[in-house]
């Protein structure tokens, strides 16, 4: 996973609430077995017309937003299914940060795990940032995770909250599996205790599967 420290780039305004994961990446594109290559299908139903050509009205088909690294949206971004293809598609397109008033829980989690920073800011601030973003290539937004601020093109700094552990992992590009594996003694201990208290949870389903038939 790539570390996230500070990002300065083009932001694309997407003034929509409840952007669900089916919108971000429709189910028909989930059939990949790799994590990359989904960027071209990002927002496919909005981005392409039925004949497959680009819909010029959609923001990511316009300059300079084709090169957007930040996406600004309205409430409840990422609701719907648990598909991690949603952050993969965003990432593969080049988006490293999504700013919205709030996020659906699973998407929020999945973003961090893939090196995308979800930033919660009030609806008013999001609207203001969208206005900035509409100034196009002249309006670069800076997202500084180290200092926990979003810097508007006019230099105004807007602070945001973030979970300290998540921030640490993201700043250092750390994989949390490796971290957890260092706790294997605790996990062994938990299993031994649970096995004594609830022995029926152990042995299934493999052994039973064999003896049952």
């Amino acid at each position: 996973m790539d570390a996230f420290t500070t990002l300065t780039g083009i932001a694309a305004p997407l003034p929509m609430a409840n952007v669900d994961t089916d919108k971000i990446i429709p189910a028909r594109f989930l059939k990949t077995i790799a994590r990359t290559g989904l960027g071209k299908s990002l927002f496919a139903n909005l981005r392409y017309r039925e004949d497959g050509s680009e819909n010029p009205d959609f923001v990511l088909n316009q300059e300079p937003y084709r090169h957007a690294e930040v996406l600004i949206a309205h409430e409840n971004f990422g609701c719907g299914s648990s598909r991690e293809h949603a952050p993969w598609a965003l990432l593969d397109f080049g988006i490293r940060c999504v700013i919205a008033p709030d996020f659906a829980d699973i998407f929020h989690n999945n973003s961090f795990k893939n090196g995308i920073l979800p930033v919660r800011l009030s609806r008013e601030v999001c609207d203001q940032l969208m206005e900035d973003a509409r100034m196009g290539g002249n309006a670069r937004l800076t997202v500084d995770l180290q200092r926990q601020v979003v810097v508007r093109p006019n230099g105004e700094e807007i602070p945001f909250e973030i979970d300290p552990l998540r921030r640490h992992l993201l700043l250092n590009g750390l994989d949390d599996i490796g971290q957890t594996m260092q706790k294997s003694t605790s996990i062994d201990g938990f299993e031994a205790k649970q096995r004594a208290a609830q022995p029926w949870l152990y042995g299934a389903p493999q052994q039973e599967e064999r003896t049952a038939s």
Binding site: I106, T180, F190, Q194, Q206, Q207
Partner: protein
Amino acid sequence: MSATKPRTLYDKIFDAHLVETLPDGTALLYIDRHLVHEVTSPQAFEGLRMANRPVRRLEGTVAVVDHNIATDASRYTGIDDPESRVQVETLEKNVAEFNVPYIPLTDARQGIVHIIGPEQGLSLPGMTIVCGDSHTSTHGALGALAFGIGTSEVEHVLATQTLLQKRARNMRVTVEGELPAGCTAKDIVLAIIGKIGTAGGNGHVIEFAGSTIRALDMAGRFSICNMSIEAGARAGMIAPDETTFAYVKGRPHAPKGEYFDRAVEWWKTLPTDEGAVFDKEVFLDAAEIVPMVSWGTSPEDVLPITAAVPDPEAAADEARRAQLRRMVEYMGLQPGQKLTDLKVDVVFIGSCTNSRIEDMRAAAAIARGRQVAEGVRAMVVPGSGLVKLQAEQEGLDAVFKEAGFEWREAGCSMCLGMNPDKLKPGQRCASTSNRNFEGRQGPGGRTHLCSPAMAAAAAITGHLTDVREIAQGKH
């Protein structure tokens, strides 16, 4: 936390699975059961392989294919769609390589992961259960903590049998009173989502409580917890009781004999303590529930079947007006149009929300002795091979076939546009599934969510129909 402080069902299961609390308060939570399917697992196994890590606890893991497969006989001769085939083959390769227990397509027990977990007794009260699928919330109906995870987390659980979790907030939805005739668990949950919205449960785990919920059979409880995610909550739960224990008893992987009795002893300690505090409470009077149907493209856009399509211009703010206009347009509706005037092209009875034997019976009761309306394609897709077998033993397949319904093999089918069962652009479908997002059942498809009985009624009349009228013999 002191042992005497009243705790919720969620708190108790969470505490019982706490391996360690990290300095910043994040919990390392032990996972008892991990269900794996073909869509969200390939990249997780790929990650293990790359890091040279084994699956930590094989006996806690079970894999099955459900999303990509066809639900007709063609599934046994191979999958046509090359990408679907690769996903299924990849899962088979991965389970063989990592030695993960697997229920193959040819096994009678195969089915939708959220149907077969409970059916096989793989999902039990008091457990932590995860799966790379948001409708894992279904299993919470057993009094378990069950939630969907992303692929990175699938990899994390495969490697460590644990997850890093923040404690969620507690929310309780209480439904009291007797459910009116013609209404089902599906109508309850649609009414709840209509009331609290798709973000209503964000950050919370919902416990469903009250006399109406307690009176439901397990099938109904599964339908309700299934759609917790549509209410924004990662998990939904219902306290285990005698209905739960009777359901679990005798299932293939359920504890047996003395172990069962010991398990029940523990399960009985799980229900929320008197005086436990919920961060959010919602109350619903069952008497106010009517058969519900969704009209828009978000599960919160539901209405009683007796209502009419709302007028977008009547909404309070411009953002909402724009959203509603888009919905009305996408769904091909006119403001003010009666919902019962909407003609359907397709009827889909199935999905992890409503494909249990009880759902099959409810739909068959409407279909019996009637005929599917001309021009309507009506399909019934049981949730598992075993549900299918049982329905056939009860003669329900004959009822459906005589009425003109297709009787199909188990799988996710038309719940999502990922296998051959898809809507065509512009087609309108009465569906017992859980999501009505744009394109969910196929690009351009129009979904109306409802109960199995309501879907069957729509198949018979050819338009969205108040099932109570069928019961009164009006059709």
